[in-house]
């Protein structure tokens, strides 16, 4: 083999090694969680990389816990409601910001961007008071409302970008047809924005599903908790006695749907994330 070919072959091998290491780094922790969750508690403290006899007792135990199922239900309700609310509010806002020239547009955009940079803890006490005043403490509504603080700026920003990219003659054609702004938005522009709505909705869903600080603070009882809080609060007598198998089974259960979503909508998610960040 000539040295040139050898060098090329070595480069190839090196490259695929790097890819392998990367994949191992990215995927292994989740894989290990699955492995752990499939072990009976007796085998838990033997490190192993493979499960010979998958044991589903941990999953059975998790799914028998009413509070965990309840938490999944709560998380679904909260995340879906947040998506619906954020998309509705940001769709109309994005029409205004993306398609109409008016004084104060830049200021509104800056405000929205500013809110997206808020540390959540900075509004914690004020929001706590608002939620208590509205009688929403320890309800899903508290979370739906408070989650708009981090979903809205993002959905507004991304949808505004997408909205601005639609051809303006389309809107003028609608004006010539006698369409009001509301009709233009709902019957002409909205049908063209479905891909963008799916992307932003998905990202908002993931963000809401994963939120922890507000969920921990604004809910109190098992019946109102969301999944992240429920998992964080699974405990044994001490940190050494944590029911790790159970914990990993719960973790896998709440993560698998997300992983599947991400794998299916990978392209859309990437475009949404980069639109939000780079074009802003």
């Amino acid at each position: 083999m000539s040295p040139r070919l050898l060098k090329k072959a070595l480069l190839r091998v090196g490259f695929w090694c790097l890819i392998g290491i990367l994949l191992l780094y990215a995927v292994f922790p989740f894989y290990y969680a699955i492995v752990t969750s499939l072990k009976p508690s007796s085998a838990l403290f033997q490190v192993s990389y493979w499960v010979d006899n998958p044991d589903f007792s941990n999953y059975a135990a998790v799914l028998q816990q009413a509070s965990f199922l309840r938490a999944i239900g709560n998380s679904l309700v909260v995340a879906l409601s947040v998506v619906a609310l954020a998309l509705f509010l940001s769709l109309t806002a994005a029409y205004a910001l993306g398609r109409v020239k008016f004084r104060g547009r830049g200021t509104v955009l800056m405000m929205v961007l500013g809110v997206s940079m808020f540390p959540q803890v900075a509004v914690l006490s004020g929001l706590f008071e608002v939620i208590r005043a509205l009688g929403l403490y320890n309800t899903s509504w508290a979370l739906i409302l408070s989650y708009t603080i981090f979903t809205l700026p993002f959905t507004v920003w991304v949808l505004t970008t997408f909205m601005g990219q639609l051809p303006h003659e389309l809107e003028e054609a609608a004006i010539m047809d006698g369409a009001s702004p509301w009709v233009t938005l709902t019957r002409v522009l909205l049908p063209l924005l479905w891909p963008a709505l799916v992307t932003t909705g998905l990202l908002a869903f993931i963000a809401a599903w994963n939120e922890f600080l507000f969920a921990l603070t604004f809910t109190l009882t098992d019946t109102q908790r969301t999944v992240p809080v429920a998992i964080a609060l699974i405990s044994g007598g001490s940190s050494h006695e944590l029911p790790w198998g159970l914990l990993m089974a719960a973790s896998v259960l709440v993560t698998v749907p997300l992983v599947i979503l991400v794998l299916i909508f990978q392209r859309r998610i990437v475009s949404g994330l980069t639109t939000g960040a780079l074009k802003g």
């Binding site: 490259f15 990367l22 994949l23 990215a26 995927v27 922790p29 989740f30 290990y32 969680a33 752990t36 490190v47 509705f88 509010l89 940001s90 109309t92 806002a93 205004a96 109409v100 008016f102 405000m111 961007l113 500013g114 940079m117 808020f118 540390p119 803890v121 900075a122 509004v123 914690l124 006490s125 004020g126 706590f128 008071e129 608002v130 409302l145 708009t148 603080i149 700026p153 702004p181 993931i206 599903w209 600080l213 921990l216 603070t217 999944v227 992240p228 998992i231 790790w244 914990l247 973790s251 993560t255 992983v259 979503l261 991400v262 794998l263 990978q266 990437v270 994330l273 980069t274 960040a277």
Partner: protein, 320 residues
């Protein structure tokens, strides 16, 4: 159609009239913005103002309405027993140090790793789409879950990391990653880096794909060493994207809460500003004092965000 003649001298400036349609659209625009603005006012602006106000009172969680103004005492107060307030609380300054330590190290690592992974994935190879999808998994996993998974992997007795390191002869005895004061910050950083590298990678990858291809063609034709091309061409062109990603990550890291809370709970060796503020607000129920800490954190983030917005606007002006 583009513009034709400039105004001749003597031409009066005509009033910039709007068509009925334009007027209707501007009215509709404000109407359409109102729900969003009301919502943000309710969940962001008003609570923020209340937090500022609470920081000047002795409010307690039990009844935030029943609070009296105490000036800046939550921040700094001199009394017969000496100085008190957030600004002289060694715990607070410890939290500030921890947060900065965490931010600098984790954002730095994320930038470097994110860029390296992006360069790797910018090469065309079969299965690239699949690899790109798979590296998104850490990003999609809820922070709480990844913290739990890692705390299991980092478990001092049964964790796989200790097992591997012992097996490789790197250490003699298992390490108490999350309990040892010297190691726990590293545990937090490891988890955060693992979770956020995908995001940085995606941004870098998008930026890499927007680079003009002909520069590289030219460089290859001229036989310039790839490393030199990277330093001289790629990196400078990537700088704007790198800065954007870094700012995003810095703002995120400064308000870090979830990872630390789950991984090491209230341990003082990892306590961040957010954890500190929440502890005072919710656990000690001292809303006034906690709000003072929150306000300080907000100010730090606001200053950095302003710098970013200012630079962003300057850059836009330069470009146009």
């Amino acid at each position: 159609m583009s513009v034709s003649t400039t105004l001749a001298t003597g031409d009066e400036l005509l009033p910039a009239r709007e068509t009925p349609v334009q007027r209707r659209r501007v009215r509709a625009a404000w109407l359409f913005l109102t729900p969003m603005l009301l919502c943000l006012a309710l969940v962001a602006a008003w609570p923020l103002l209340r937090t500022f106000w609470f920081s000047l009172t002795d409010a307690s969680l039990a009844d935030t309405g029943d609070a009296s103004f105490i000036g800046l005492s939550n921040y700094l107060l001199h009394s017969s027993t000496g100085w008190s307030g957030v600004l002289v609380d060694p715990q607070w300054w410890n939290a500030v140090r921890n947060t900065l330590h965490f931010t600098v190290v984790s954002v730095g690592l994320e930038m470097v790793l994110g860029l390296l992974v992006a360069l790797l994935l910018n090469v065309k190879f079969t299965g690239r789409a699949l690899v790109r999808a798979l590296i998104l998994i850490p990003w999609a996993i809820p922070t709480i879950v990844s913290a739990k998974i890692w705390s299991w992997m980092l478990n001092d007795q049964f964790g796989i990391i200790n097992h591997l390191m012992l097996g490789a002869g790197l250490i003699d005895a298992p390490l108490a990653w999350t309990a040892d004061a010297d190691l726990s910050m590293w545990a937090v950083i490891i988890v955060d880096v693992w979770k956020t590298v995908p995001f940085v990678t995606l941004l870098m990858l998008a930026a890499l794909q927007m680079l003009p291809g002909d520069c590289y063609e030219a460089a290859r034709v001229d036989g310039i060493h790839p490393l030199k091309v990277f330093w001289r061409v790629t990196l400078p062109l990537l700088m704007p994207a790198l800065l954007v990603a870094a700012i995003f990550r810095i703002l995120d890291s400064l308000r870090v809460f979830d990872v630390i809370y789950v991984l090491t709970s209230n341990s003082s060796s990892t306590m961040s500003m957010s954890v500190y503020a929440r502890q005072h607000l919710m656990e000690f129920q001292d809303v006034g004092y906690g709000s003072a800490a929150s306000t300080l954190l907000f100010l730090v983030v606001a200053v950095i965000a302003m710098i970013y917005l200012y630079l962003g606007r300057r850059q836009m002006e330069v470009r146009s």
